[in-house]
Amino acid sequence: MELSDWELVQRCQEGDAAAFQGLVARYYRKVFMVVLGILNHREDAMEVAQEAFFRAYRNIKGFKGGSAFYTWLYRIAVNLSIDFQRRQKRTPTEFRETMDELIDKREGAEFAKDPYVDFQGKELEQRLFAAINELTPDHKAVIVMRAIEGLSYKDIGRILGCSEGTVMSRLHYARKKLQEKLGPYL
């Protein structure tokens, strides 16, 4: 029988490293996606996601189960990502190179066989990353968490430390901005 998050957390608190490995296996992809959505840089996202799990491990004794484990974990990951991005603001050229590399690596693997559809897909992907990169970290965080995990406004508010109303208005603003940038491609 699969253990719940809380049961794994309790085992971690008792010093069971294997239980923590179980939590990492359960959430590493989602955390990576959230961080990548905010940072738009694969290597940085990998580093920050790993650091987020390390911080979670170090502070797991302080987690009392008042909220879901994943909201606590995402809070660590999002705060680290936002701090990281504020410290290492990339230039637009650096950003474009990174995204082109990232998309080229996946060429042929994800898109349809039709070259026209393939081209359109890549074009949308590149523009999507570029449009997201123009948002502030707070706006990126809300749109990414909603898109990936389908988190409720309440949970997103808990993670970011803001009200549901703020989440709603940030999401609306971010979507409008993306729609403006990507209109012809959607």
């Binding site: 996606m33 790993q50 004794k61 990353f129 898109a147 406004y153 209109g183």
Partner: protein, 181 residues
């Protein structure tokens, strides 16, 4: 009540996210179904959501667990200063469930500490150490003697005569012999 397009477009995201009340949800749904402009915008927002998730999921699917976990465990077990490692160890060791061993350990340690003078001659514990006042019970020249070492330069000696007659017979020395200190 007739709902205008501007109001609907402002609530479109919350509606798609299922964050509106039942009555508002129904009002927006009815408007969107009958309005090509709002319906088109709704489809755009849905495609945006799907594209974003698709792009990020595509990236994440290429991340294998083993290298990711290696990175995390390297951080956990990285060479850190001894005090940081001690702190980490203490953090994991001193949880209530693990403190059961501590009580017998403390008892054994205390017993060992107070028994050391049985095994090592001259070992003193507690108030016998240092320059403070102290009492020694020794057998000097066949007498029981109590020695008070008040400081490095001041010592008071008291002869204890428990069995005066036996002592006199066996030693042949006077009870009031002068201290050799």
């Amino acid at each position: 009540m007739k709902t205008d397009c501007k109001t609907v477009k402002n609530s479109l995201g919350a509606w798609l996210d299922g964050e509106l009340s039942a009555s508002e949800t129904e009002r927006i749904r009815m408007h969107v179904e009958g309005c090509p402009s709002c319906s088109g915008e709704k489809e755009q927002w849905e495609r945006l959501q799907v594209s974003l998730r698709g792009v990020l999921e595509g990236e994440a699917s290429g991340v294998a667990f083993e290298p990711f976990w290696d990175g995390v465990s390297r951080r956990i077990f990285a060479e850190r200063p001894w005090y940081a490692r001690l702190w980490d160890w203490a953090g994991l060791a001193f949880v209530p469930q693990r403190l059961a061993w501590a009580i017998p350990l403390v008892i054994v340690a205390l017993l060992a500490m107070f028994s050391l003078d049985q095994f090592f001659a001259g070992w003193h514990w507690g108030s016998n150490r240092g320059n403070g006042s102290a009492v020694d019970s020794i057998d000097g020249h066949g007498f029981n003697v109590a020695v008070f070492r008040e400081s490095k330069t001041k010592t008071t000696v008291i002869w204890l005569f428990e069995n005066q007659e036996d002592e006199d017979e066996s030693s042949g020395e006077p009870a009031s012999a002068e201290s050799s200190f």
